[in-house]
């Protein structure tokens, strides 16, 4: 017998316990062959051969499947073993008595890192407390979601008030007296914002294909944000780059290739997003662990194989004013002021100040304000940031919108809201409610991974994106794992999900009598929660 001491790591310290039924196991080995974490392995155990007295102490060896006990290869509850077992002999069961968070820190002197979303869920979910309560019946005609024509488009780019447009009437013709800021009418959902590196090449390309397909085949002008991990030159030089919002974050990864590709680009990109912060880990820069920095990631990003920790801020920027004068100006100049440039920040108690400052931008080069709430996902973060920092999206979006309304400047810098959308199953409802509260559109990343087959959830399942051992081949750069992902199926599922969401958005617009996006139409919303009603300034009902 091996010695057992109280201070060594035990199975019951871990967050997931493998439940194994030896009587059903046919020793086919499929579970251990499949587990990307190496969390289960075949092992030899001894059994008493028979119960008779004469055979006492006669033992025989049998093959069993055993859980590995360790920090590097503990079970994440992904459930792949259960999927491949022909007999239902094995499954991962959540350990409600685990001591992992204490044991990991006390053994390794490291902070806990993970991917996914905040797993605490202490803040509740405001959007689920809101209903669409203003239904057109006799007051104004309701519409038919299936058959009427809806205009699901929102501006991306700086919108000027009528008196600042500089349009003159000359002999009955409208003349532009100055160059107007670039503006694009796009679908109110922006996909992605996940870098090459954070997700596998197949996942990233599937998103790009789905985006192109939705535009070209379905006529839905959806855009994808690239995230900051570089962009393949082939995409930059293809016509499909017009559906891509190029991201620049504090790492500035891959921009040399973008600059290099410029003379060969046949289309302008859809926009540029300056990422200052993200909702999942506000105050932190991007984080890509070395085991995901594959050779092609090294090339595109111009870095060696190492943990890539982007700085928490753009190092050349010290204030909001400077970011406008320097970063916005440079990014506008990059494509000769033809491409709208927006900014993404994590929602924060300071967001209104930032938005107000941007609204005062005298050069009209701020083309969008992306506000990311704390329920957003990430490929890798310190758990402490994921669970304990950030600001909920709903009230902060509302604050920013109302700040603009107060100045009569709502809509001048379109606001896009994200962070945990679709978390409880209804992406379209979340999007619609945020739009009614003042968002011009929404963005989503984490949900796309779940559509692609990610099994992670917000109650500690999997969330191992940071390890590069993603069992679904989504957040991995490993060949064996990435090739588990069916690029066509993923792209088709993404397309289908957006088509379903499009229909569901119309199912919400129709009864409210809106054939165009109800941006800021908070009169359409009600809540039975008085605090929510007061904070968001929507109707309290009971």
């Amino acid at each position: 017998m091996t010695k057992v001491t109280i201070n060594q790591l035990h199975k019951d310290d871990l967050p997931w316990i493998i439940e194994y039924d030896e009587s059903k196991c046919i020793k086919c080995g499929r579970c251990s062959a499949t587990c990307s974490f190496g969390a289960i392995k075949p092992a030899i155990e001894q059994r008493v051969k028979s119960g008779s007295i004469s055979e006492k102490n006669k033992l025989e060896k049998v093959i069993v499947i055993k859980q590995e006990i360790g920090f590097a290869n503990h079970c994440r509850g992904c459930g792949m073993c259960e999927r491949v077992c022909p007999n239902g002999a094995i499954r991962a069961v959540r350990n409600t008595d685990d001591r992992y968070s204490i044991r990991y820190r006390s053994e390794t002197a490291e902070s806990v890192k993970k991917g996914g979303r905040s797993n605490l869920n202490t803040e509740g979910r405001t959007l689920d407390k809101i209903k669409v309560g203003r239904i057109s019946q006799m007051t104004d005609p309701s519409l038919d979601a299936l058959r009427h024509t809806f205009e699901l488009k929102t501006p991306f780019g700086r919108v000027l008030s009528a008196d600042k447009l500089g349009l003159n009437n000359e002999n009955g013709k409208m003349i532009e007296t100055k160059t107007l800021p670039p503006n694009r009418w796009i679908y109110p959902i922006i996909m992605g914002d996940m870098s090459i590196g954070a997700v596998s090449w197949r996942m990233w390309e599937a998103m790009a294909i789905a985006t192109a397909y939705l535009n070209e085949v379905c006529g839905i002008p959806i855009r994808m944000c690239t995230g900051e991990g570089g962009i393949p030159s082939r995409l930059l030089k293809s016509k499909y780059v017009k559906y891509m919002i190029l991201q620049i974050a504090s790492g500035h990864f891959g921009w040399n290739r973008i600059i290099d590709a410029m003379p060969d680009m046949v289309e302008d990109p859809a926009g540029i997003l300056i990422k200052i912060g993200q909702g999942a880990k506000p105050g932190d820069g991007g984080m890509l662990m070395a085991n995901k920095v594959a050779k092609y990631v090294q090339e595109i990003r111009g870095v060696p194989k190492a943990d890539l920790l982007s700085p928490p801020t753009h190092q050349g920027l010290y204030s909001i004013e400077e970011s406008v004068q320097k970063m916005f100006l440079s990014m506008n100049a990059a494509f000769n002021f033809r491409v709208p440039v927006a900014i993404k920040v994590a929602a924060s108690v300071t967001s209104v100040s930032v938005y107000n400052n941007l609204l005062r931008d005298p050069y009209n080069i701020v083309g969008g304000f992306f506000l990311d709430g704390l329920a957003a996902g990430t490929g890798a973060a310190h758990e402490i940031s994921l669970n304990h920092t950030g600001h909920t999206i709903t009230s902060k979006l509302r604050d920013c919108y109302k700040a603009a309304v107060k100045q009569g400047r709502q809509g001048e810098i379109p606001i896009f809201a994200g962070g945990g959308l679709g978390q409880t199953g209804s992406f379209a409802a979340d999007a619609f409610k945020l739009i009614c509260l003042g968002a011009n559109g929404v963005f989503s990343g984490r949900l796309l991974l779940q559509i692609a087959g990610c099994v992670g959830n917000d109650t500690e399942r999997c969330n191992a994106c940071n390890t590069g051992l993603c069992p679904a081949g989504i957040a991995s750069q490993d060949v064996c794992l990435t090739k588990r992902l069916d690029i066509d199926k993923v792209a088709q599922n993404l397309v289908n999900y957006i088509l379903a969401t499009d229909l569901e958005l119309r199912k919400l617009m129709a009864p409210t009598g809106c054939s165009s996006l109800p941006i800021g139409r908070s009169d359409a919303l009600i809540t039975v929660d008085k605090n929510v009603a007061d904070r968001l300034d929507i109707q309290y009902v009971c």
């Binding site: 046919i26 020793k27 086919c28 080995g29 499929r30 251990s32 062959a33 499949t34 587990c35 990307s36 392995k41 075949p42 092992a43 030899i44 093959i63 792949m80 999927r83 491949v84 038919d144 299936l146 058959r147 009427h148 024509t149 090449w201 197949r202 390309e205 790009a208 294909i209 789905a210 192109a212 397909y213 070209e216 085949v217 379905c218 393949p232 030159s233 082939r234 995409l235 293809s238 499909y240 594959a294 050779k295 092609y296 090339e299 595109i300 750069q477 490993d478 060949v479 064996c480 794992l481 990435t482 090739k483 588990r484 992902l485 069916d486 690029i487 066509d488 792209a491 088709q492 397309v495």
Partner: protein
Amino acid sequence: MFNNKKIVINGIKDNDRMSTQALLQLIEEKVEEGYTDFEINACGQHDIGGSSWNKEGKELNFRITNPGQRVGGMARKGTNIYVEGSVPADVGWLNSGANIIVNGDCGDTAAHCAASGKIYVSGRVGTRSGALMKYDPKFETPEFWVLKNTGSFSFEFMGGGIAVICGYDCAGIKSVLGNRSCVGMVGGTIYCRGPIQGIAKCVDVIDLNENDKQFLTSGMKRFLSAIDKKGLADTLLDFTEWHKIIPLSTEEKTKKISVKDFRETQWVEGGIFGDFIEDDMSVFELAATGKGRLKQPVWNKEQCINCELCIKNCPNDAISKTEDNKYLSSDDKCIGCSICATVCPKNAWTMQNNKKEIS
């Protein structure tokens, strides 16, 4: 008309306008008394000519001037209505078999929900005309003939019946069906002559076949004769400018190229990562063999005691032994479960990580 009892009713007398209720109740009273021919000089009263019948099954004939809305609304088979001059909204609303002739223009929603009978209009009809027309196979197909054009949103949700829009006197009009017509159309046929624009995506615009031409030829004669415009036959029966509009089936409406085909035919050739990665996009199943294995066994001759436990326990019969006692694991059979390495008493089999980065 011989033997028919005829009556003239004036909707306005001594500057005193009858209410719709009074007029309709008076008509009903006269129908009960056996009157079959009505000349009604209305003053905007609604619903004239609707839902009445003669007890002996005789036809009811209405000649109407200046009606209000829903003239011929809910009219039954055996009712003939002729309106001199234009009418406001909803003429022939829920028509269940009447023949209605309007010698003039019609307001909005003409022929709305018409389910049988014929509606002939010698002018233009307003917005949402022909909306929700339907066809019940137990009754005659409803027909809706318009000499000129319709307003926008016409034939919304149309479920059956036939509409003929002749496009006469429409010079300079961009679309004889207005804008956004046929939204939600699921059944029926529309024939129209002249340009059409902004039509809903759920329908198909096709050329006429011989049956269509035959139908239009015979129907046109009856129509033109009813509105007293026989002279237009040659112009209107020149089929070069006619179109036929029919709804697409659900399959046709949702028919799209698959994303896989899109990737293979329209996407960036060789994939956007083609410069870095050779990827044929084939998919590894879970517990795959060959290159899809996460781990693969490696045999070490020095350690092997030739006990064959690995051969006996390999679940996939992947391990074999050569004559000179070399052990081989077949890449095509092995899934990398590591049972061989587990049962080997001497560590002759070790598992090597097959996971690798793309290069």
